[in-house]
Amino acid sequence: MTWIHVYLLAVGAVVTAGLSVVSITVGLAIGILVCAASLSRAAPLRWAARVYVSFFRGVPLLVLLLLIYHLLPQIGIDVPGVVAALVGLTLCTSAYQAETLRGGFVNIAPGLVEAGRMIGLNATQLLVRIRAPIALRLTLPALVNEGIMILKASSLVSVVGVGDITRTAQNLSSSTYRPIEMFATAGVFYLLLNVIVTRGGNGLGRLLGLPRT
Amino acid sequence: MSGDVAITLRNVVKRYGDHEVLRGIDLDVRHGEVTCLIGPSGSGKSTLLRCVAFLEEHDAGIIRIGGAPLGFDERPDGSRIRLPITEIARVRRNIGMVFQQFNLWPHMTALGNVAEGLRQVLRLHKREAHDRAMAHLTRVGLAERASYYPSQLSGGQQQRVAIARALAMDPKIMLFDEPTSSLDPELTGEVLNVMRDLAAEGMTMLVVTHEIGFAAHVAQHVVFLDQAQIALEGRASDVFRKPWHPRMAQFLETYLDRGASVLLGN
């Protein structure tokens, strides 16, 4: 174990962090759309949202990644492994986030919305000023949790050749014959990233004035 | 029966941190009598009752149940020793307790709740435990609800099952901590009736309650607790009809205006 190894793993950590940030962000955007569909008045939209959530939560991420990695070239889209990895991670997390957000909306105390209606807010105002912020407050802890889940799940992108922490550790382990040190150090990097996400989530919670947990 | 002492408290002190919740309580509860403990919120009524059940450990003083020291004993030199856990369990066997929140076990039927102690503690055979539990449910008027789960019973029914559960262990003393405070007025009556019957049968009872009517008509002895101390005690008629104690008069007015004004005769 030398500093070179630590440096290489740190580079892997940047890749892992980048993948996680992108997929969480894009996943949130898609998640909002899917959540809206699941709460919509049109039955086909609700059904589609339900199947979407059920499928991407029900299939192991590894299988999803393998599927996408081989499916894209077959339908004429030739992309590097990173893109396949990002697509897989994003689809997976978007389904979880959609479900979390839906729970947030469903659990808003009806009285809060009624109070808004009584002071004369219209439907859009109710959504933007009352329901969405409350849903976000209710779901923030779960969303932070989802960030940590995706951070760990992203280790599977190593199977499609992306040089994240895990892939780097694998390479180093086979070149140095020191799997224990390499994978243990990889674990430490994941723990560090976890701490950062948790801290960030707490900071965000304070910003929104959420009760401390 | 009446006359000898069922529970004795001598100089009992209980603290949470440096907050003294009981400041040297002296109290005698006689056999066969109903003693009601009243007082403003936060005065320490629940704490006192929980100390008598040894759910809370008192910090000083001594509590005796039927003469036997509860939890701690005093050496001749005045130092305290903690009694072994089996001894605590033996003394506690004399006591049954009924809680404000019922505390029925949700995964057992009414019958299961009542039979649990008979099976596990008294080690009775299934048949006998069943019969005895059934008899106690009948006594509180719930024989036909024996196979219901707590979630399927009303609050009043749950509390009556809880009373049956305590009675099944054949305690010499029953403790009640605001047994009707989480019940609707119409359900309060059915629980108070069960308690009244129990009192008429000569059960020794120590009852924390805000039901002044019950205290006035059923209790032989009323204890008014205020700011962690016993401010006033005596026969129900004396305590209620002559509220010469200023805090007592204030308490009766603020907490219990309806019933109390009748009792006060004004």
Binding site: L62, L71, S173, P179, G187 | P106, Q152
Partner: protein, 219 residues
């Protein structure tokens, strides 16, 4: 579409893979909660000094990817005299991983049992062991059911990761068949549908179970 001959040739292998997946899942789902319960009970009722180390171990396991843990166990194990068959290593890894999560779920359940229910048991005269066995464990089970069903589904999905350390379970069997026949996409699709059915099915069973236990819930 799919090469039917190749499929029928590979069918026994795929079926073996499916059975192994189900075996690993069920065995892991039986062992992980047991180990998790031991950890939860030790942390709640054991001597004070066991709490911190157990907390640290649980947090490390919950904070790192299952894949990295499996690599550590499978490739690192031999260096510390732990030379395990892939399947054995897989089951051990799955159990330890699941146990960390279950210990937290069960500990939460133990804490959530109302204090008054324990006090009522003390007043009736049950001893410590009886209270744990007769009151705390059953009430806890009720409280943790939804989270546990979730966790069982997570474990099912994590069994796919075991293919990376050469456990011949479903994912390995199907992808092996696929890559041998240049039909990887179809194979992966079939695989996805297999897991999807399994997870949906366990979700259904879990929800039905929850409904059945509803009558034990007060308020």
């Amino acid at each position: 579409m799919m090469d039917l001959d190749a499929l029928s040739d590979a069918f026994p292998e795929i079926l073996d893979g499916l059975w192994l997946t189900i075996f690993m899942w069920l065995a892991g789902s039986a062992l992980a909660p047991l180990l998790g319960l031991a950890v939860a009970l030790a942390r709640r009722f054991g001597p004070a000094w066991v709490d911190r180390p157990l907390w640290a171990i649980v947090e490390v396991i919950r904070g790192t990817p299952f894949l990295v843990q499996m690599f550590l166990l499978y490739y690192g194990g031999p260096f510390i005299g732990l030379d395990l068959e892939p399947t054995t290593a897989g089951l051990l890894g799955l159990t330890i991983y699941g146990a960390a999560y279950f210990s937290e779920i069960l500990r939460g359940g133990l804490i959530a049992v109302p204090k008054g229910h324990v006090e009522a048991a003390l007043c009736v005269g049950l001893n410590r062991m009886q209270i744990i066995r007769r009151i705390l464990l059953p009430e806890m089970t009720l409280l943790v059911l939804p989270a546990s069903v979730n966790m069982f589904i997570v474990l099912l999905k994590e069994t796919a990761v075991l293919s990376i350390v050469t456990v011949p379970e479903l994912t390995m069997a199907v992808t092996g068949f696929g890559s041998a026949n240049f039909a990887f996409t179809q194979a992966a699709l079939v695989l996805a549908l297999c897991y999807w059915s399994l997870t949906e099915l366990s979700g259904l069973v879990g929800r039905a179970l929850e409904r059945r236990l509803d009558r034990f819930r007060i308020a």
